[in-house]
């Protein structure tokens, strides 16, 4: 192909502009990383804004996926009906025994509460939201939820499924929010070993089983111990079940969460009136704090 001098120069110029654009895009992404590391509000606002815009599409796409999952689940259940039935019968027998014990304890507890003029915990308000986005990235464990500040979701609130803790709300947009799972590398949850009342911090590391760190004292921890939330820091109300200790090797204690991530379709975002996990914001009001310190 023949090219005149002018056209040739234009092509060179064009190439130069392209190179320059490429370089400036590289600089822009590095700048974004640095800005993001500095935790400025602008970045977070941009994130939530875009997430809000994508939320309706993601929501629409999540619904058929959930239906397909239900259908395949049904087939699985049909195939395992017999063994499942046997297991449930056995479990039922065990639970019947527990029910008797619980009834007795409940009656006893009620009498004690009356004798002590105990002030009961207020019933928390909650919002139920659909999981609309789960990128399943190897670099972080978070999900997008289809409820935001207009539904009453606020940063730091605890997210539960059934009775178990899933994580907390890390970012809130108008109609979507980001749930940070307890297994994420950034997640730190104050916990309590239920039987020994030992305090520790549950530290996520992007694996399915987060580990316990900063264990107070030197207790004997054994596999199967239940782990629940602790009230320290006023982040979560005490006693929400999290999981059981799954392994103790070389001083590293790992916890198997009760939550099965792939089963999450709806979650409850609960407002306990506490500050939640929010290190950089105003601490919760003192009277609430005092209450949460009692166990």
């Amino acid at each position: 192909m023949k090219q005149s001098g002018a056209a040739g120069r234009l092509a060179t110029l064009r190439l130069l502009v392209q190179r320059f654009a490429f370089l400036s895009l590289i600089v822009a992404s590095v700048a974004l990383m640095i800005l993001g590391k500095a935790d400025i509000l602008l970045i977070e606002h941009t994130r939530t804004l875009v997430a809000d815009a994508l939320a309706p599409i993601l929501d629409a796409m999540a619904r058929p996926a959930a239906t397909i999952a239900q259908v395949t689940d049904n087939f699985h259940e049909l195939a395992n009906l017999r063994t499942e039935n046997a297991r449930l019968k056995e479990e039922n027998a065990k639970l019947m025994h527990w029910q008797t014990v619980a009834r007795r304890l409940e009656a006893e507890n009620q009498i004690l509460h009356e004798n002590l003029n105990f002030v009961p915990d207020p019933d928390p308000a909650f919002v139920t939201a659909r999981v609309i986005g789960d990128m399943g990235s190897a670099f972080g464990q978070s999900m997008l939820l289809g409820a935001g500040s207009k539904d009453g979701v606020r940063k730091g609130q605890a997210v539960l499924t059934g009775e178990a803790l899933v994580g907390h709300v890390a970012e809130v947009g108008l109609r979507s929010s980001r749930l940070l799972l307890i297994t994420d590398i950034n997640a730190r949850t104050p916990v309590l070993l239920e039987a020994t009342r030992t305090r520790a911090i549950l530290t996520g590391d992007n694996t399915q089983r987060p580990r316990l760190s900063y264990i107070s004292g030197s207790p004997t921890i054994s596999v199967g111990d239940r782990v629940v939330t602790a009230a320290s820091g006023g982040a979560f109300p005490p006693g929400i079940p999290i999981g059981v200790v799954s392994s103790v090797t070389d001083g590293i204690v790992r916890v198997e969460p009760f939550v099965q991530r792939h089963r999450l379709e709806f979650v409850s975002i609960i407002d306990f009136g506490l500050g939640g996990i929010l290190p950089f914001e105003r601490p919760p009001p003192p009277e609430r704090r005092r209450r949460s310190k009692e166990e």
Binding site: L54, L58, S137, M143, T207, H262
Partner: protein, 171 residues
């Protein structure tokens, strides 16, 4: 000959297909699959889109659109903003600059090169995120993600090639 408005519009819409498909792949990755074990290690589908179009139609998914795809990926996945933008940008840049090498080569060569490039891309994302978070991340999910991405490549390439034939044969 001057093309009519309709033909222009048709061409314009067809030219949006590569970006649209890559965006669709991104949203597809974000769907909660409800499959056990899968939720931690979804394949990087948008990366394949960026790679494919960088080789076969770099004019329709240029560097800045790869950057936009990366930014959206960061926002949806919750990774630090800028990490995947940089990764996608570099994958696009590398693939587009070597595209003459790929054209007319067998599929195995494309796959092999994709393996190399993805290893570099995921490795770089790992280094960047570890650096930003201040500690080394667990490697095993990253390797699984890599293998998953690599094994889905033939299927995706077939789909993308079909799309290209259907929409972009003449424009």
């Amino acid at each position: 000959m001057k093309a009519s408005v309709w033909v222009k519009m048709d061409t314009w819409v067809r030219h949006l297909v590569p970006f649209g498909i890559t965006l669709f792949l991104l949203l597809l990755t974000a769907i909660p699959t409800h499959a056990p074990g899968f939720s931690g290690i979804a394949p990087m589908l948008p990366l394949m889109g960026v790679y494919y179009w960088a080789i076969y139609r770099p004019d329709l998914l240029p560097a800045w659109l790869a950057f936009v795809v990366g930014l959206l990926y960061d926002i949806v996945a919750g990774t630090p903003l800028g990490v995947n933008a940089l990764v996608m940008l570099l994958v696009q840049g590398t693939a587009a600059s070597q595209r003459k090498f790929f054209l007319g080569k067998s599929f195995a060569v494309t796959w092999w090169a994709f393996g190399l490039l993805t290893a570099g891309a995921i490795g770089m994302a790992w280094v960047l995120i570890s650096f930003i978070k201040g500690r080394a991340l667990d490697v095993s999910p990253v390797i699984f993600e890599y293998l998953m991405t690599l094994s889905l490549f033939p299927l995706l390439t077939w789909t993308l090639a079909r799309t290209q034939l259907a929409f972009l044969k003449e424009v």
